[in-house]
């Protein structure tokens, strides 16, 4: 609770360091803050960094799905990185892993 959501913008990519626990409560802030950034300037892709995240429920999936739809409308993309096995399982059960790839996997397939 109360973890700051850190943001970093490099060119047209927005990096978001997510809080330790993502539920209905914290996903509201993720949604609002991301929207603020998207309105500030051109963003082509969003990378959600789960390195500090140990818990996520379906509210987090709703927030990710919302950002995915939003970026798709603009012709952009959404990726995740730093996911642990628990988060990977949640992403897989929801089916959202078919839409939002892991950044690390993407890099591997490039090399």
């Amino acid at each position: 609770m109360g973890d700051a959501i850190l943001y970093k913008k490099i060119n047209t990519t927005l990096y978001l360091k997510l809080p330790a626990e993502i539920d209905h409560h914290s996903s509201q802030e993720i949604r609002e803050r991301t929207e603020e950034y998207l309105q500030e300037g051109p963003i082509r892709s969003i990378v959600f960094d789960f390195s500090d995240t140990t818990f996520m429920d379906s509210s987090g999936i709703g927030a990710l799905m919302g950002r995915y739809k939003r970026m798709k409308e603009k012709g952009g993309s959404v990726m995740v990185c730093g996911v642990n096995s628990r988060i990977r399982r949640i992403l897989h059960i929801s089916g959202i892993d078919a839409l939002i790839p892991e950044w690390e996997e993407k890099q591997k397939s490039k090399s």
């Binding site: 709703g62 799905m65 059960i93």
Partner: protein, 138 residues
């Protein structure tokens, strides 16, 4: 064990942590405990968003242990669910405009062994979930 709390989103974390601490005496694996935490979070979030629709209300959480089996009950006295079967369909949400994934009940089913939902319009909702620990180790 039981407790009651106000239907505020900041209490979601509190509820799942209290249940997890109570059940830790069964010496569950980290994964089993995470499963219960996720399910409790889903049930409590439903009470806040749907049962009380953002208004103030009381959520009651009960947890009991019988052998290796945990039973968790999440109770609200909110608006209730008109069509429980429809509410439990994967991806169904009555609030698409709020970016709800519609996966709350699916997650409860996926992470617990048993799920039952008793509800009627105006009568509130009782969600009962069971999980037996130690299944993966034997």
């Amino acid at each position: 064990m039981s407790f009651e709390m106000e239907s505020r989103s900041c209490n979601e974390q509190f509820a799942r942590v209290v249940v997890a601490v109570f059940l830790s005496r069964l010496d569950p694996t980290v994964e089993e405990l995470d499963d219960v935490k996720t399910a409790v979070s889903e049930a409590v979030t439903n009470c806040i968003i749907h049962g009380y629709a953002g208004e103030d209300g009381i959520i009651r959480v009960e947890a009991a242990i019988d052998g290796r089996t945990a039973t968790v009950r999440v109770i609200d006295h909110g608006v209730g669910i008109e069509d429980v079967k429809k509410a439990m369909e994967p991806m169904y949400t009555s609030r698409p405009e709020e970016e709800r994934s519609g996966m709350g009940f699916s997650f409860m089913e996926a992470f617990m062994d048993e799920l039952s939902v008793e509800s009627a319009p105006g009568k509130g909702t009782v969600v009962t979930m069971k999980k037996t620990f130690g299944r993966t180790e034997s």
